[in-house]
């Protein structure tokens, strides 16, 4: 029996991509996209930067206009899925209705790891995950004089750059000893530390959050783990995310730091797929270990792969991971996964804020981080996607150039 309907839970990058790609692949059946947020599906990256600054409006963040969904017969349902009835291949919605599915795609994403200290329910404390978060935050950033950021990851630092540009005094609390420590090399951390300090951002490394103090229900100060008190009218936290696995867990699907999927992105139920931030998949760039990636690229490429499989073109997921973050005048683009890197070669000039860090594990190039060297990033993606391997010795030679090497070694 051919597939007659696909229900997609979650309308972020991954969920929307599945719907769009299914139609592009010629799928003629019913497509239902269940969105638990109001409005049309939108892109998340601008929430912590361009949209927050008012540089783009809400329409510019949309994936597609309303007419597109109607034209493509993609049904947008504004509801929450309450339960999955695997036996009858049906999802139950909060509103009381139900949706039958031939195949179900779980693109439920992740939610912010919450602050777990006294005072965290005060006003003026924000994570940035949805358009509603950014809408609340946007006017406050322009007014706030003292801002504290909890966590020096991508989101925290993107926000710190925005707040500093708006003229606030910004203090960043970070448990680790350098910015973006989980994601980038020490050399790249150092470039970003220096840049942020140049914008007036103050870092507090090896420092946690002990308590949030308030006045009239709003945050007024932050107490650090080493007992200091920092004034703050606005606190933004970005301390990681937790995958939204509850539905899958209750439905009895295998869970392992996310919904466990195989190399085709199928869950333990052959009628259910999962993708994006919520899915833990065997990642070829990480030694086939179950890996959960939080990125636009991963959600989009996984969405395309699932759509292709559903129309009869199965393939294992092998796409090269890549990421980006914009902070102030710095554009950082990362190709590959640097897990286990033990040898670094740099190209460019950190002082000029144009630096690429080639990350090797032994002799193997596994990732390239490029700050304001977008050409390097594009070449790195090609080089990492296939052999022959670039060795550290070659990369460290004087006048080494990624573009020239890629051209000379192109198959």
């Amino acid at each position: 029996m051919s597939l007659d309907s696909v229900v997609i839970v979650g309308a972020g990058h991954g969920g929307v991509q599945v719907a769009i790609s299914l139609r592009q692949e010629g799928f003629g059946g019913r497509i239902v996209l269940v969105n638990d947020e109001p409005g049309l599906p939108y892109q998340r990256p601008p929430l912590s930067k361009a949209y927050l600054l008012g540089k783009i409006n809400a329409t510019a963040m949309l994936f597609r206009p309303e007419t597109f969904y109607a034209d493509q017969r993609i049904e947008l349902v504004h509801d929450r899925v309450a339960a999955i009835d695997r036996q009858n291949r049906r999802v139950m919605l909060d509103s009381g209705s139900a949706l039958d599915f031939g195949h179900l795609v779980l693109a439920t994403g992740a939610h912010n790891r919450p602050l777990n200290v006294p005072g965290s329910t005060l006003g003026g404390i924000f994570g940035i995950k949805t358009k509603a978060d950014a809408d609340f935050l946007s006017p406050l950033v322009k007014q706030a004089r003292n801002v504290v950021v909890i966590g020096a990851g991508f989101i925290g630092l993107e926000f710190a750059a925005v707040a500093a540009a708006e003229g606030a005094a910004v203090e960043v609390l970070e448990l680790g000893d350098r910015p973006m420590a989980r994601a980038v090399s020490p050399q790249m951390s150092e470039l970003f530390r220096a840049a942020h300090e140049g914008w007036g951002v103050k870092f507090n490394f090896r420092t946690g959050l002990a308590e949030l103090e308030g006045e009239d229900g709003k945050v007024s100060a932050v107490t650090t783990s080493d007992g200091r008190r920092l004034p703050a009218e606005l606190v933004v936290f970005g301390i990681g995310v937790i995958p939204n696995v509850q539905l899958a867990l209750e439905a009895g699907l295998d869970i392992d730091n996310g919904i466990r999927v195989n190399s085709s992105l199928l869950t333990s139920d052959p009628h259910i797929s999962a993708l994006g931030d919520v899915a833990a998949f065997p990642c070829v760039q990480n030694g086939e270990n179950l890996t959960r990636l939080e990125s636009v690229q991963n959600a989009v490429d996984q969405g395309k792969l699932i759509a292709a499989r559903l129309v009869g073109k199965p393939a294992p997921y092998t796409a090269l991971p890549w990421f980006w973050t914009d902070q102030g005048n710095l554009k950082l683009q990362i190709a590959g996964l640097s897990i286990g890197a033990d040898n670094y070669v740099t190209l460019g000039d950190a002082a000029a804020q144009q630096l690429s860090v080639l990350c090797f594990r032994g002799e193997e190039l596994i990732a390239v981080e490029s700050c304001n060297r977008p050409g390097d990033h594009v070449f790195a993606r090609k080089i990492l996607a296939r052999p022959p391997a670039l060795t550290p010795a070659t990369a460290a030679a004087p006048d080494f150039d990624l573009k020239a090497w890629e051209a000379a070694n192109r198959p």
Partner: protein
């Protein structure tokens, strides 16, 4: 509302009504033009919205520079009129603009 024509590599034409102020990439994705994924959403981070400005219009646009220029260095079949359409802001004077798409993105 300017109309922009996107011509796929196989010759298929798509006439798209664009809003002034949006990017040509967004006009294309909003209209579902195949061949312009625009994976990064217009952040000039992925180089998947490459197109050639039609010769008749080529002189009307400043050449790519900065990040866009660097990203274009490695697209498939770069030409002198290559642009990343996420960086082309639609103006009221762009009615009739034609953009041709390469055989493949990236």
């Amino acid at each position: 509302m300017p109309t922009i024509t996107f011509i796929e590599h196989n010759g298929t034409r798509h006439e798209v009504h664009a809003d002034v102020g949006q990017s040509a990439m967004q006009a294309a994705t909003f209209a579902g033009v195949p061949g312009i994924p625009g994976d990064c959403g217009g952040a000039c981070a992925c180089a998947s919205c490459h197109a050639y400005v039609d010769d008749a219009w080529a002189g009307r646009f400043a050449p790519a520079e900065g990040t866009e220029y660097d990203m274009l260095e490695n697209v498939v079949e770069r030409q002198p009129t290559s642009r990343l359409t996420c960086q082309l802001v639609v103006g009221a004077d762009m009615d009739g603009l034609t953009l041709r798409l390469p055989a493949a993105q990236f």
